[in-house]
Symmetry: C2
Subunit: 111 residues, 2 copies
Amino acid sequence: MSVNETSEDRADALFHALSDRTRRDILRRVLAGEHSVTALAASYDMSFAAVQKHVAVLERAGLLTKRRNGREQLASGDVAAVRSVASMLDELEDVWRGRIDRIDALLTEET
Amino acid sequence: MSVNETSEDRADALFHALSDRTRRDILRRVLAGEHSVTALAASYDMSFAAVQKHVAVLERAGLLTKRRNGREQLASGDVAAVRSVASMLDELEDVWRGRIDRIDALLTEET
DNA sequence: ACAACATACAACCATTTGGTTGTATGTTGT
DNA sequence: ACAACATACAACCAAATGGTTGTATGTTGT
């Protein structure tokens, strides 16, 4: 092994969640303020269920959280998760700069 | 429309390229220094063709470039592309801060 | 109580993805 | 010249993705 396994799982989930433009758009909305799933769904030309699944993907990745308010689920974006993605990119930039002490710790050593 | 269409295509490609751990690992290697496709392939427990496809995905996303050297293709990571992803995340953080002037310009106005 | 609303989730489908093997093409060193 | 090497790419396959419709469950206001 090398690169902490669960952290790679997190990275997979985060980048995958961000790889869809509808999900990025939803994320922008919920970072700007709370929105119910229904309110979000109203913004897109697709079924409620499709939007709800996108919200679920973002939630599983930790990019948004939901809280119940009566019969609504209010979703808010988690800026800390966004920052954690940014720091993964910073790490990549550090690799480029040659600034990583133990670069082999970041690279998969198959053998 | 809203959010520049081609820039969304770029974002799709970049985040998708980053959403696979093998590709992130390849990107780390080529950010640290040039590597031939064969050298990269030697590091993973999968076929040469599989690794070559991962390299192609990274290349299409603009995260790496190749230059020919004799019979080898040497791949190097493009740190500017990594930074462009970082700035997309910064923009998300700006949305969260409420710092975006015309927030509606960033959000899809379907109607 | 109950109709309308908000959400969740299952089942299904077409397309994409990540892998495979096989084949073709270009480059090099002897 | 030619064998070995480096790469590219097509064809194929199973699994995952992004969408659909339909159904079930909880919540609210009258």
